[in-house]
């Protein structure tokens, strides 16, 4: 499993001056390469954790009810990249399944943006994630992980995903550090383009 717990005593700590944590989320179906991508670029071995929430009290903590009400638990993993002496980027690998989105606001409010990782053999797995990201107004790009399935053109993939033409679609190999780094850079360049368009408009 990918949930190997890295020993805090061994894990590279952050520097004393670190004071601003940023988030990017990688969303995609099971086995699509999320943990692999996080591991490829992270300064630490990916860690895993969970968030739990009781169904009856979405958005409110109600720990008193934890034993009596059904609770939703979502597991996710993450790594981090120290960008400079103050800024550290956390990368989260998160499942795109339905119950996960109940926790989106609590976990990923304030996220810079998202990468939707897709396997072209199972494109339909990503429909829901794309729909939810649009709903939450979270900017994203789509990265196609090559598992050696049939070759589709970018246009075919865009059609199948009903992707807005402004959303970047790129190919990647999550096992490669260079390729995974390129995915993140593509996302942040996309965010920069959106932000500068907004500044010009206002």
């Amino acid at each position: 499993m990918d949930s190997a717990i890295s020993d805090p005593a061994v894990r590279t700590p952050l520097v004393r001056t670190a004071d601003n944590g940023l988030k990017i989320v990688v969303v995609g179906g099971f086995g699509v390469g999320k943990t692999t991508l996080v591991r490829s670029v992270s300064d630490i071995r990916p860690l895993s954790t969970e968030e739990t929430m009781t169904q009856a009290s979405r958005g409110i903590d109600d720990l008193g009810g934890i034993s009596s009400k059904t609770s939703t638990t979502v597991a996710f993993d993450f790594g981090r990249i120290s960008l400079n002496e103050r800024t550290v980027l956390y990368l989260f690998g998160a499942p795109g399944q339905e119950r996960f989105w109940f926790l989106w606001d609590r976990l990923f409010a304030g996220t810079l943006g998202a990468v939707v990782l897709v396997d072209t053999r199972r494109l339909a797995d990503s429909w829901y994630a794309i729909d939810r990201l649009e709903h939450h107004g979270t900017p994203f790009i789509v990265a196609r992980n090559d598992f050696g399935g049939p070759k589709y053109t970018a246009e075919e993939v865009r059609d199948a995903l009903d992707l807005d033409p402004r959303v970047p679609l790129i190919d990647c190999d999550a096992r490669s550090r260079t390729s995974s780094k390129h995915v993140l850079i593509t996302l942040v360049e996309h965010l920069r383009a959106l932000a500068s368009a907004r500044e010009t408009a206002s």
Partner: protein, 118 residues
Amino acid sequence: MIRPGRDDSPDRLYTLTGGRSRSDAHDFDLVTLVVSESEATLGMQSEHAAILRMCRLPTAVVEIAADLRLPVSIVKIMLSDLLDMGRITARHPRAVPSRAELPDLPLLEQVLVGLRNL
């Protein structure tokens, strides 16, 4: 494989938080960086002591949760308690103020520089 939280009895989670929910626990983000302001003391709740040891250097809420193998929401409540006691300080993220807002350009440039240097 040890799954945080899932194997814990509700009783243990109850004890850790005193059964309380705290609305200010929401001030802690997954990536809020926590720094200890004092050493662990004898007789302190063991999770509190573990947090103080872990956070001698800045440590994100989500890393604390992973190391303690506890759900993030439980950890946030314990952090709120430690904050009240003046035993930790919290460095909250300054990225994106609210939903669907884009971060400012200088921050994005900074992120790009950092990523290109990887």
